[in-house]
Amino acid sequence: MSCYELSRLLFDLKIKESVYEQALTDFEAVMTNYELTAEEKTALREGDPRKLRQLGVHGMLCLYIKRLQPEFRDNIYWQQK
């Protein structure tokens, strides 16, 4: 089963600052913009890249869920692509 929409959300967290900024304040609202299954929403809320990978997301995109986590929000890694 394709996880295109789930992957797209994570891609947008990487590329689109507007999506990232909104996700910081209202991640539930951001998720409504993508056609996600209940299982995918749960994995996103848990913020575990390994679970996203198990759902079929490319590992390079799974990483970007960590951009929302307080301990990694200011990480230097996000300042390069």
Partner: protein, 288 residues
């Protein structure tokens, strides 16, 4: 005119991150996904030594490039979900915009893009059965910016970014990548300009994989041994799966340059595993 020079180098982000706080940040994120490797976490002194060694390796490559006085530098690299997504993954992509730009932390990069050379390569490919994707708008990312910082910090000549799909399955075979390099060599030989090539990426690493943190040093050394012997074209016999097993799919970028340099022996190689995620590799072909 024949190609005037060719080099290859890793593009791992931590090559350009500053030892100390920036490296620590990078490793905090990395080891949150690869906790088993954290016992090897490099000290500040080890970080500084790696940076010095990488700068020394890049200095050799830079001097070789400068000595060859190129008019343009073709940069063969891969995307990593910056310019391309699952709606369209090009196997080979040639940039035909006027300019290309990007950033890496506080560093900014902007170059003229040699679109005429790009179009010449695309047209030659269509004659020879290699149909490139192409487009005007791309953003330079770490896969180009890290080596360019050390090799062409001042945009004194135009570049030409060419992308190879090394990062998602299915990827092109090493043989096909070599054929693309042969085509570029033919275009260079028919050009009045002095054309140099840079391949980026590798060597062994497993980004986004459950094996993240592993480095297959043995495989990497075998690759470099082959390049020193001038037998790079024998590497077309490898399958993508073999490269994948060794964490070396970005070597597909190198295979394009290997196809272009033919049987030339690498005049310089250097290798340093970074203890974190990647075997950093550096090669120059001074005599083509």
């Amino acid at each position: 005119m024949p190609l005037v020079s060719a080099v290859a180098a890793s593009h791992a982000p931590n090559i350009l991150l500053e030892p100390g706080n920036e490296w620590e940040d990078f490793m905090d994120l990395h080891y949150s996904m690869a906790p088993k490797g954290s016992s090897n976490r490099p000290t500040l002194e080890q970080q500084k030594k790696l940076r010095r060694d990488a700068e020394a390796a890049f200095a050799v490559l830079r001097e070789d490039l400068q000595r060859s006085q190129p008019d343009v530098l073709i940069v063969v690299a891969n995307d990593q979900f910056v310019n391309f997504f699952w709606n369209n993954i090009p196997t080979f992509f040639v940039t035909i915009g006027d300019e290309v730009a990007g950033k890496f932390t506080r560093h900014r990069f902007q170059y003229r893009n040699h679109k005429e050379l790009g179009k010449a390569i695309i047209r030659a490919g269509m004659e020879k059965g290699i149909d490139f994707s192409y487009g005007e708008r791309i953003e330079l990312q770490h896969t180009q910016n890290v080596p360019l910082y050390f090799l062409l910090r001042e945009p004194s000549i135009p570049i030409l970014p060419i992308y190879v799909n090394t990062w998602v399955d299915p990827a092109p075979s090493p043989r096909r990548c070599s054929q693309v390099g042969e085509l570029i060599r033919e275009v260079a030989e028919n050009s009045k300009e002095r054309i140099a090539m840079l391949a980026t990426g590798g060597l062994s690493h497993f980004p986004g994989s459950p094996r993240i943190g592993e480095i297959d040093e043995k495989f990497d050394h075998q690759l470099l041994d082959v390049l020193r012997a001038g037998k790079g074209k024998t590497l077309v016999e490898h399958s993508v799966q073999e490269l994948l097993q060794a964490g070396d799919t970005e070597f597909l970028n190198w295979m394009v340059v290997i196809g272009a340099v033919g049987d030339a022996k690498a005049s310089y190689t250097n290798y340093m595993p970074d203890f974190v995620a990647t075997g950093w590799g550096f090669v120059s072909w001074r005599s083509l």
